[in-house]
């Protein structure tokens, strides 16, 4: 009877024997990275809309350069190519999004070398880099080519006296120089200005201008559970609260909170860079600490620092203490007492 059954039904192959569990959620690093790439598409569309060919040129060259450099590094180290995980594609897009539209292609490629070869592969590749590779690429370029990295396109500013003027400074840059020299703010804020900033009609790095496009991407990542609200929520919330206090104290010298939220690289940073899994905390509490820290540092740099924008530096500084945050916010293990309680008892 048993023999007959065996003859007509296929034998189990039994070629996989492993430890439990034998079920998996189906998540993969590749799928996560693909989701990030998809989430970046609205911002890319906005970039192409506002900056045209330059946006496409920078994005494509950064992606190609990052993937090629990653492959070269892996090959030189005698390891698997590892480009299938799409992390280099994400780094390429994010770095490009952090560049001004007129930057020469070769400079962008130099940034890619910093990002992938130095910030990522020298540390051991995906998972081992302590700092966000794209931000390292951007900061390296900012320090190496300060002029080219702050050469912006022309932009019609909403003037406080009702006559619009053309400017090649970013909204934040203009505010900083004006407050420092003239002591007054150069803008006139109304709903129209808000809408302008929300849609992305401002100058700046190609991927950071449209808060709306970045928001759509963020919503997609939240839906796909690639990110949680903790980091971006606390980051944006802190910036809003901090700037609100400054603004209430002295509205003449301080930009209002909605301006801080919509201008500059904050949305790109809070949604896509501070949420980088490798370089941010793993605990929910830690993510919140990380977000608050990024927010405070961003505001300190924007208000009192030498640079008009502080998102990159804020995130990189917080990256450096990520392991400490992880340790400090480790949850209380089930069945254990909190350390201080143990001592007390």
């Amino acid at each position: 009877m048993v023999e007959e059954q065996k003859a007509e039904t296929p034998e189990p192959v039994l070629n996989v024997v492993s430890t439990s569990p034998h079920a998996h959620s189906g998540a993969s690093v590749q799928r996560i990275m693909l989701d990030v790439v998809i989430a970046l598409m609205p911002a890319l569309a906005a970039a192409v809309w506002f900056f045209g060919w330059d946006a496409l040129r920078l994005t494509l060259s950064c992606v190609i350069a990052c993937v090629a450099i990653e492959a070269l590094c892996r090959k030189a180290m005698g390891r698997d190519l590892g480009i299938g995980d799409l992390s280099a594609v994400v780094t390429g897009i994010l770095l490009a999004f952090n560049l001004p539209p007129a930057l020469p292609t070769w400079m962008a490629v130099v940034g890619c070398v910093f990002a992938v070869a130095i910030a990522k592969q020298l540390f051991g590749g995906i998972g081992y880099n302590p700092f966000n590779p794209a931000l390292i690429g951007r900061v390296a370029l900012l320090i190496s080519f300060p002029v080219a990295m702050t050469k912006w396109s022309e932009w019609t500013i909403p003037s406080p006296i009702g006559i619009d003027a053309l400017s090649t400074a970013t909204p934040l840059g203009l505010a900083k120089t004006n407050v420092m020299s003239a002591g007054t703010l150069p803008y006139h804020f109304d709903g129209g200005t808000m809408l302008q900033l929300l849609m992305g009609d401002q100058n700046g790095c190609i991927g950071e201008v449209s808060a709306l496009a970045l928001f759509i991407g963020g919503a997609y990542m939240l839906w796909r559970k690639v990110i949680s609200w903790h980091t971006p929520g606390c980051y944006l919330g802190t910036v809003a609260a901090f700037s609100c206090i400054l603004w209430i104290v002295n509205p003449e010298k301080n930009l209002p909170p909605h301006f801080h939220l919509l201008a500059g690289g904050l949305m790109l940073g809070a949604i896509f860079m501070a949420t980088d899994m490798v370089t941010s905390p793993v605990t929910r509490k830690g993510m919140m600490v990380f977000g608050v820290g990024c927010g405070v540092l961003t505001m300190v740099i924007r208000r009192w620092g030498g640079y008009p924008e502080g998102v990159s530096f804020a995130i990189l500084l917080m990256n450096s203490i990520t392991p400490l945050i992880n340790r400090a916010t480790a949850p209380r293990v089930f069945g254990h007492q909190r350390k201080n309680k143990e001592k007390a008892s």
Partner: protein, 451 residues
């Protein structure tokens, strides 16, 4: 109404594809005795039983063939009548090996003569009831296989005030406990009453996940007449609600201290299958010689809940379920989250075989050694609030001490972390490795201190 929703829940946990629909509606069917039964002497946690028969002996069903091999050990009985063909080392389903007694059934399936039922069990003392459980060779049938008589004898000074009956069956695919609750609720309830008498505890909670409304209704119905403090606790369906510590927390809001036992918070957890075995042992006087195993998986032609004799080979179980209808790439003894992968179908059922699961090639994922990308999903999933990502990296770097400091020993190996890991890291394997390493080190130190 004798039901209450669980007031508490640990964080973490996962929602895997349960696939219980394959067998949830299928009534338990008894499998005929196969042509050979290979009865392992290690069907439980602890010392293997000592063989009490010799090759060529004739045995009856229920006859003692393995005596306690130590304090933490369980008796083994012949699952049918027949002849002892061989006594030899045989592989176990958990990857080790143990002495097993091969019995060739004579087809008569004759019980031993000295079966003493105790329908009057209510007049018996607790000690006598425990000895009946011990004689019947009962081990925890939920999976761990801890000797039940040991569990029912708390050391002096420990008070158990709450009995929790584990009917969560949170492992995907498995429906054996589910069917038992639906079909044998009355007997399970009597088993509960026996344990209640042994422990002298008033409070009884039967914990069932809300994906088994028929089991909830069945248990509630048999408990309706009870005047004591008893209720069905309805757990949200989420893996691992059936894990002992998590279940105690869900039902009572009490945390079993690290390294401690449920009795440290006055609780005791018994699986529904074990409870039924206690009923059979006491009221009917029958030793444990069979159990319900869910034979399931999409490649199985006729999946079902099979009542099979202990010692039935996995190949025979599959054949009884009409074999495979497609390719199976992995065979698991137990459920998909904590079961053991098999390299053949030679292993035989034991008191802990809750399921036999066949997985299609496309359902099987291999682990890789890709680096951790610190997504934190394992941290959010861990029902013990550990940091599996960090632990796994320490263990990879062979820093077992650091892992010990971060409480790797608290890991219950539920597999939530590895289920969620997008890098497909073998997290559970790392934890098991570290735990084994630490325990070996501790044993060494103990031995040193002694000498």
């Amino acid at each position: 109404m004798k039901r209450e929703p669980a007031k508490f829940k640990v964080n973490g946990g996962i929602h895997p594809a349960y696939n219980k629909q394959l067998t949830a509606e299928k009534a338990i069917i008894e499998m005929p005795v196969p042509s050979l039964l290979r009865v392992s002497m290690l069907q439980h946690l602890g010392a293997p039983a000592k063989v009490e028969v010799a090759k060529g002996d004739t045995v009856s069903r229920g006859q003692l063939i393995g005596e306690h091999g130590g304090f933490i050990s369980v008796r083994v009985h012949a699952p049918t009548s027949g002849t002892v063909k061989a006594i030899a080392e045989a592989p176990t389903a958990t990857g080790g090996s143990a002495i097993a007694v091969d019995i060739e059934p004579d087809g008569e399936d004759r019980w031993v003569e000295d079966i003493t039922p105790h329908p009057d069990w209510e007049s018996l003392e607790g000690k006598k009831l425990i000895s009946l459980v011990s004689d019947a060779g009962i081990a925890g049938m939920g999976g761990a296989g801890f000797p039940t008589h040991v569990k029912l004898s708390p050391p002096p000074g420990k008070v158990i005030d709450t009995l929790i009956i584990n009917g969560a069956e949170c492992e995907p695919y498995l429906t054996a406990d589910h069917r038992l609750m639906v079909e044998r609720a009355e007997d399970i309830w009597n088993g509960i009453r026996i344990i209640r008498k042994i422990l002298g505890c008033a409070t009884v909670r039967v914990a069932i996940e809300d994906n088994k409304p028929d089991a909830i209704a069945a248990m509630e119905a048999v408990m309706a007449e009870d005047t004591g403090d008893s209720a069905v606790v309805i757990l949200k369906t989420e893996y691992p609600q059936g894990a002992e510590k998590q279940q105690i927390f869900a039902a009572l809001g009490k945390e079993v201290p690290s390294g401690g036992l449920p009795m440290d918070v006055g609780a005791l957890v018994e699986n529904v299958g074990t409870t039924l075995a206690i009923f059979e042992a006491v009221v009917k006087g029958l030793p444990l010689t069979e159990r319900v195993t869910t034979v399931t998986g999409f490649p199985v032609k006729a999946p079902g809940n099979i009542l099979a004799r202990l010692g039935t080979s996995y190949a025979d179980l599959l054949a009884f379920c009409e074999g495979l209808q497609g390719k199976a790439a992995k065979v698991v003894s137990g459920g998909p989250m904590m079961g053991f992968a098999q390299h053949s179908l030679d292993a035989t059922t034991t008191k802990t075989t809750s399921g036999l699961l066949f997985l299609r090639p496309d359902q099987v994922r291999t682990f890789s050694s890709m680096p951790c990308i610190s997504c934190g999903r394992c941290v959010q999933a861990c029902p013990m609030y550990l940091m599996p990502a960090e632990l796994s990296q320490m263990i990879e770097a062979e820093d077992i001490e650091a892992a010990e400091e971060l409480n790797v020993l608290d890991c219950i190996e539920c597999g939530c972390c590895a289920f969620e890991c997008p890098a497909h890291r073998p997290l559970v394997q790392h934890m098991k490795q570290a735990k084994a390493g630490i325990m070996a080190k501790r044993r060494e130190e103990k031995a040193k201190q002694k000498s």
